[in-house]
């Protein structure tokens, strides 16, 4: 839980009071509606999350033609799976290989591809991540437990305009017989940001 200043139990924080003040004033003026805000929140809580991106990745792993479309025109290829929307209007997907590792950041604010990954985790929005992703990606990835070989080239994508980025991680070994759905279940949000690799399935 983040700290919002020292308020006492029972007393609202400034953030709570300010949010309520803005919402109630705009409601009273008839400019916005409560049900509309409820509906938007519910969408991002229930429907829009990293499972969408995982479906895209799994499809690219099993279908070379889809992968080729994804790497040339990601927005259309992602829309083929019914995935699109706010903060995903112009998508680019970048591919990890044994020689190249991609990492996504937004140093100026916290731009993030909402339709494929949902809302960003808190760490993605912190000064710690935003400051170092561009200047010390290797050190940063080490903190995430990802030690890259010295000869792997790192490409950092700083989302400074309205293009949003997603990483296509490498398909792990030992997944040859898996279905597209099983593959999707292996793909994590962190791998699609570029701070992790997709791990092979656990041997049972």
């Amino acid at each position: 839980m983040m700290g919002y200043g020292g308020h006492h139990p029972g007393q609202p924080s400034m953030a709570e009071a300010l949010t309520a003040a803005i919402e109630s004033l705009l409601i009273e003026k008839g400019l916005i509606s409560s049900d509309a805000i409820d509906a938007v929140v519910e969408k991002y809580e229930r429907d829009i999350g990293p499972l969408n991106g995982a479906r895209v990745v799994a499809r690219a792993w099993v279908d070379p033609e889809y992968k080729s479309r994804l790497l040339t025109d990601a927005t259309s290829a992602i829309a083929e799976l019914g995935i699109k929307g706010m903060q995903g209007e112009h998508m680019v997907v970048v591919e990890n290989t044994p020689e190249v590792h991609n990492l996504v950041v937004c140093t100026l604010c916290s731009c993030y591809p909402w339709p494929v990954l949902g809302l960003p985790p808190n760490w993605y929005k912190t000064p710690a991540y935003r400051s170092r992703a561009v200047s010390d990606p290797r050190g940063l990835l080490r903190e995430f437990g990802l030690e890259l070989d010295e000869n792997v080239q790192i490409r950092v994508w700083d989302s400074s305009a309205e293009i949003r980025y997603m990483v296509l991680p490498e398909r792990p070994a030992g997944t040859e017989g898996m279905t597209e759905e099983e593959l999707a279940s292996l793909v994590t949000r962190d791998a699609m940001i570029g701070v992790a690799k997709v791990r092979p399935p656990k041997k049972s």
Partner: protein, 232 residues
């Protein structure tokens, strides 16, 4: 503006702290603050560039010591007052009211508007593109060598400090997009061609950069000038 938001390459923020099993929202007010973005933008109360610039103009100490959604509140407050939607007085009075009467937060007035709800869901589903058709052809093509301008505007810009006056190569052309540097200031959309530009990490960070590493930024044409490829 050379603000505290422009974090690329800064030191001293410590390790990245990951919250395990992080929820999508940490509190009820964060949900409302999030939803307000769609509601206010759909009503044209401000645009996305004004929204971002409002965050940049927060007090830097407050910016660094507050959470992401508190940044959103900071810019709502500023943009709604500056654009004449709310007055400073009514907003402050209402905040004081809720600080005194916490229970009232749980009993906010409700207003239903099915058509507005549909419009917001449409915005979620379709997004809002700032891509624009322009008649001017792009000045650069893929593979062209460019150098970023060394500018320090007091207003909004999407050219980070760490990438000013740096040499790069055009990687991709995206067409023209609304230009934040004008749109954030009510000076019109003034769409400009936008390119992904590739920089050698060494060009930006010198000897501390990883060998062969690269950084890509999406930059509008006014941020770029033609450069002659460097020999050697």
């Amino acid at each position: 503006m050379n603000g505290v938001h422009d974090l690329g390459g800064m030191h001293g923020f410590g390790p990245v702290v990951v919250e395990p099993d992080e929820p999508i929202f940490h509190a009820e007010w964060e949900k409302r603050a999030f939803g307000l973005l769609f509601a206010t933008m759909a009503k044209g109360m401000f645009n996305l560039d004004q929204f971002r610039h409002g965050i940049e103009r927060m007090d830097p100490v407050h910016y660094l010591s507050s959470s992401y959604y508190e940044h959103w509140l900071g810019t709502y407050e500023r943009c709604l007052v500056e654009n004449g939607i709310l007055t400073r007085g009514e907003l402050e009075a209402r905040v004081r009211h809720f600080l005194r009467e916490p229970d009232a937060i749980k009993r906010l007035p409700r207003r239903e508007d099915p058509a507005f709800k549909e419009a917001l869901l449409q915005l979620v589903a379709e997004g809002y593109s700032t891509h624009r058709e322009v008649s001017a052809p792009p000045k650069f093509k893929v593979g062209d060598h460019v150098v970023t301008v060394n500018i320090h505007p007091a207003g909004h810009t999407r050219l980070p400090r760490y990438a000013r006056g740096k040499r790069g190569v055009i990687e991709r052309w995206h067409g023209a997009f609304v230009f934040p540097d004008t749109n954030a200031h009510g000076l019109g959309e003034s769409p400009q061609h936008c390119y992904t530009v590739r920089f050698d990490a060494e060009e930006i960070w010198g000897r501390s950069a990883g060998k062969g590493d690269t950084i890509y930024l999406d930059l509008w044409e006014p941020y770029l000038e033609a450069a002659v490829p460097q020999g050697g």
